[in-house]
């Protein structure tokens, strides 16, 4: 960050970016960047699902959002510790985040099914065509990954600059 020292506009844009996505965002390990990125993937997934309902090309977008979330999590994990195995703190965060992601997805799915039952006569949406079922399935997997990534980033304390030093 601050690569354009002296240029006021660039410096202000840099500060704005740091305020939005957190320090150390440039090396990909900022928890806040992870939260922002996964919220974007979630929004893209929802847009894809809606497009699919309108009989457009949505399922590819939903797949893209799911794939982006999983790729993002792999890259962040690799940037954090290279090829070293996760230690006890990282394992605990991973399992907690996965449990939150899976639990939240199940809760949302069961809530939707319950409301689907209540409002079935009013024509509440449910997957009908093959593409819609595929998109709904991909959306659920993506949702689980995105919520897990957000939970994982939320539970990871902010990386202080000195903690990234090798010393």
């Amino acid at each position: 960050m601050m690569a354009y020292k002296g240029n006021r506009v660039s410096e202000r844009l840099d500060r704005l970016a740091i305020a939005g996505i957190g320090i150390n965002a440039d090396n990909g390990v900022s928890p806040r960047l992870s939260i922002v990125a996964n919220l974007i993937f979630l929004a893209v997934g929802i847009v894809g699902l809606v497009l699919c309902l309108q009989e457009q090309f949505g399922s590819g977008i939903v797949f893209g959002a799911m794939f982006a979330a999983s790729t993002h999590s792999i890259i962040v994990e690799h940037r954090k510790r290279g090829n070293a195995p996760p230690d006890e703190r990282e394992r605990a965060i991973f399992w907690k985040a996965t449990a939150i992601g899976a639990g939240a997805s199940c809760l949302l799915a069961s809530g939707w099914v319950m409301f689907l039952g209540n409002f079935a006569d009013d024509g509440m949406w449910k997957p009908d065509r093959q593409a819609e079922w595929r998109a709904a399935g991909l959306f659920m997997i993506g949702l689980m990954m995105q919520i897990a990534n957000i939970a994982s980033a939320w539970m990871t304390p902010a990386y202080a600059a000195e903690l990234l030093d090798d010393e």
């Binding site: 954090k80 510790r81 070293a84 996760p86 230690d87 006890e88 703190r89 990282e90 304390p157 990386y159 202080a160 000195e162 903690l163 990234l164 030093d165 090798d166 010393e167």
Partner: protein, 81 residues
């Protein structure tokens, strides 16, 4: 029940002349975890706490406590009295 756990890992590490990376390798964790431990952002497992104490050659209660540790100046002052 969540109680705050204080530690003096940073002090013992500085005293031993070790970097975070060296200490992390000695106990088998990520250097970031050592940083989070020193900052009080993470509570270690009993196994990790005992491994850290073993590296420094002290009892675990010298490294971790529920009550805040006195500062070095306070400890020196107490020693003079």
């Amino acid at each position: 029940m969540t109680r705050e756990i204080h530690n003096r890992i940073a002090m013992f590490r500085a005293d031993a002349g070790m970097t975070r990376r060296e200490l992390a390798e000695a106990v088998g964790v990520n250097p970031q975890t050592i940083g989070f431990l020193e900052r009080g952002d993470y509570k270690p497992s009993l196994e990790l706490a005992m491994s850290l104490a073993e590296v420094f050659g002290v009892n675990v209660e010298l490294l971790f406590a529920f009550e805040p540790f006195p500062s070095l100046s306070q400890a020196l002052q107490k020693g003079r009295e």
